[in-house]
């Protein structure tokens, strides 16, 4: 009897969480964080800021959607002038992960030309979701 109850609760919890995740994954929320690039470049001295925008992607090894995200962001960076894609291994940069409060992989931060964070999304974003928040004005 208890087993049935536990099974029922587990199924309801899982379905609720799964539906919630499906709705919110990859959705960008507006941010206004002026020190993000300062923190990123302190952890990754060789990284360079894109002329118009930078897509900072946090990834880890045990992360299937990170691969999808990499393909989407790299493609956008290649097609749009002045947009850079920077992938950060979260496991190698835990200090930065904590400082920027990254909780999941993939997490994508969108930085403007001056390195201010303007948006972020947890979970794999679709191409159109990224383009909608890209701070580069009218695109060719």
């Amino acid at each position: 009897m208890t087993g049935i109850v536990i099974l029922g609760v587990a199924v309801v919890v899982a379905v609720t969480f799964g539906v919630f995740r499906r709705a919110t994954d990859g959705a960008f929320a507006a941010e206004s964080e002026s020190t993000t690039w300062t923190q990123v470049s302190a952890a990754l001295p060789s990284a360079s800021l894109g002329e118009r925008a930078t897509l900072v992607q946090f990834s880890s090894a045990f992360c299937a959607p990170c691969r999808t995200t990499r393909v989407v962001l790299a493609d956008i960076a290649e097609q749009r002038d002045g947009v850079a894609h920077l992938e950060v291994d979260a496991e190698q940069h835990l200090e930065l992960v904590r400082a920027l409060d990254v909780r999941r992989t993939p997490t994508t931060l969108v930085l403007d030309a001056s390195g201010h964070e303007v948006a972020r999304a947890a979970g794999a974003p679709r191409r159109d979701q990224v383009l909608a928040v890209l701070p580069i004005g009218a695109t060719p």
């Binding site: 087993g3 536990i6 099974l7 799964g18 090894a61 299937a64 979260a90 496991e91 909780r103």
Partner: protein, 138 residues
């Protein structure tokens, strides 16, 4: 690199096995959970391509499907098998000490993870991995 539908098929079978474990009386439940623990151990130890469900998928299911849109890294599902193994071992220890309710709750957590994986393609263990790292060295 593996077909991402393989681990989802495995998760679906796991979900059914674990549901059965919650529905049958205790002596039978122990046998079912022990069997699932062996599957998890094979997946975590040898790789997800070597579990009995992966073999079934490869020989019986995959030939009937279209080719996959993309291949996937085998490490995340393998890690998930390890997480599943922890829950089933915890359940077996609880059964052994007579704490049937504790065992069933542990199986319940494994059901949540298996359902999220099978239905939504979401790897809960993989997501908790980064949070675990953050906490450990904080």
């Amino acid at each position: 690199m593996i077909d991402p539908r393989g681990p989802r098929f495995t998760a679906a079978v796991t979900l059914v096995v674990l549901a059965v474990a919650l529905l049958v009386p205790t002596p039978a439940a122990v046998v079912v959970v022990a069997g699932q623990a062996v599957f998890f151990a094979i997946g975590a130890g040898l790789g997800v391509q070597h579990t009995p469900t992966a073999v079934v998928f490869r020989t019986l299911v995959r030939p009937r499907l279209a080719p996959p849109a993309a291949l996937e890294d085998a490490r995340p599902p393998r890690f998930a098998q390890g997480v599943g193994l922890l829950f089933t071992v915890a359940a077996l220890i609880a059964f052994a000490t007579g704490a049937v309710l504790v065992a069933q709750v542990a199986i319940g957590f494994a059901v949540v993870a298996a359902l999220l994986n099978a239905v939504f393609g979401l790897c809960l263990g993989c997501e908790l991995y980064l949070l675990g790292l953050r906490l450990r060295t904080a």
